[in-house]
Symmetry: C2
Subunit: 231 residues, 2 copies
DNA sequence: TTGATGGCTTGACAATTATCAAGCGAAACA
DNA sequence: TGTTTCGCTTGATAATTGTCAAGCCATCAA
């Protein structure tokens, strides 16, 4: 594996504090692979062979049931995904596919579990990571259960706006996938954008302009306990 | 603290493997308290002072936003709640209230974090617990996003039926709270029960009779990756 | 017993969201 | 350059879900 990839991985909170021996043991069986867009990396129900680390590109986590499909999350570099399944050695609950050309490091699950068992610092880092993931999913559940789709979109745009720091930004994903992520149909999303125009939003293709943040916040009523990535 | 409570706690997976020293240190600052029904134990947004362990009774975890409220989970003995917030020392994302007269052990958060940092076995047990919780919430999200309310109710009843082992059982919670947990209104739940009558369900008050499991399963299409508590 | 309470149910209606079909328009391709 | 493709949008309609109001019924207390 290229040193630069190795350094990217080492810099992740998950791997930064572990013993050098452990890290090297983990890297020994690891390898990096390049994938074209729209390749399914893992399928829900499968048993985890590898812990995945997205080095570049991006990955969609999604789930299916009864012919329906929903986007659960987007994984962007540099971060891992499907840690919980790897640790528990339990079937994946979500599938993953590349959204674009992506580079992914694959760390054998057995190695991850072995080192988890022997390296206390690694175990503690996993705790922090899982606690973070858990809280993110809880926030998402609150978003889904307590808000209408219009409110979810409004708050999503506020989070993006805050993240970008600018009142004008591009959606970083297809609208159809955003719709799925927010738990609505593409048609409904299209109408929701229209519905936010009286609340300070202008849309031109994938370009979003928040021309009245105060109005948008008045409508969206963002909450730290749902919308903040930290905390 | 009574030895029997101490033993109950020690028997939890979370505490079973830790060093005896660590456990005793944890118990030193811990105490048990009795609460009447409908007492709010913690409020979302607060900073975690204690890790809670329900010894007897039951506790509702719920969240609010903009005057709306939703039930997120029920905690039954013997198990802990709000572990992630305690470990991260981050604000509670959910509130908790007793559903009935309950006995709860309170373990000071600082002690939990200190021992988490020093006892590797405890850290590993926390990983397992958090991974479990994370996966439970992911399943819940899939349930919410991929199913209609009628399908959610049908699958909920199948899970209960499986759990009880009998085709006939009592709902263990108020219908209004079940409705909230399933992400619907009480009125809608009432109609959903009616809607399941053609699919093998009979309802008499809080008594549920699954008189045609095959029909119910044909409608509900349960999935291990959403509906199984294990895996 | 009587009355009050509160959860549950029902009906009527409204809001939200999904579905289906058609058309638009930008990007990709021959 | 023209054609195709595909995501997005729009309109019409249907299904789902929520809201409001009223009534039922079991429980509990006076």
């Amino acid at each position: 594996m290229l040193d630069s990839y190795r350094d990217d991985i080492r810099d992740l909170d998950l791997f930064a504090g572990m013993k050098q021996d452990s890290f090297e043991a983990l890297m020994r069986g690891a390898y990096v692979q390049n994938f074209p867009p729209r390749i399914e990396l893992i399928s829900e129900g499968d048993t985890p062979d590898f812990l995945h680390v997205v080095i570049s590109g991006s990955v969609d986590l999604f789930s299916s049931w009864n012919g329906r499909e929903t986007s659960m999350a987007t994984v962007r570099p540099v971060s891992t995904f499907i840690l919980a399944a790897t640790i528990k050695n339990a079937p994946y609950l979500m599938s993953a596919r590349t959204l674009e050309k992506s580079r992914v490091a694959l760390l054998p699950s057995e190695d991850v579990r072995a080192i988890f068992a022997s390296d206390g610092a690694f175990a503690r880092a996993i705790v922090t990571e899982l606690a973070q993931c858990y809280r993110a999913v809880v926030k998402n559940t609150k978003d889904l259960k307590l808000r209408t789709s219009l409110e979810r979109l409004a708050n999503y745009l506020l989070r993006q706006q805050r993240h970008n720091g600018s009142p004008e930004f591009d959606l970083r994903m297809e609208k159809r996938r955003l719709a799925s992520f927010l738990g609505m149909t593409p048609e409904n999303l299209s109408r929701a954008f229209k519905g936010l125009e009286p609340h300070g939003i202008k849309v031109a293709g994938s370009r979003i302009i928040v021309h009245d943040i105060v109005a948008l916040e008045r409508f969206a009523k963002p909450s730290a306990l749902i919308d903040r990535y930290d905390s």
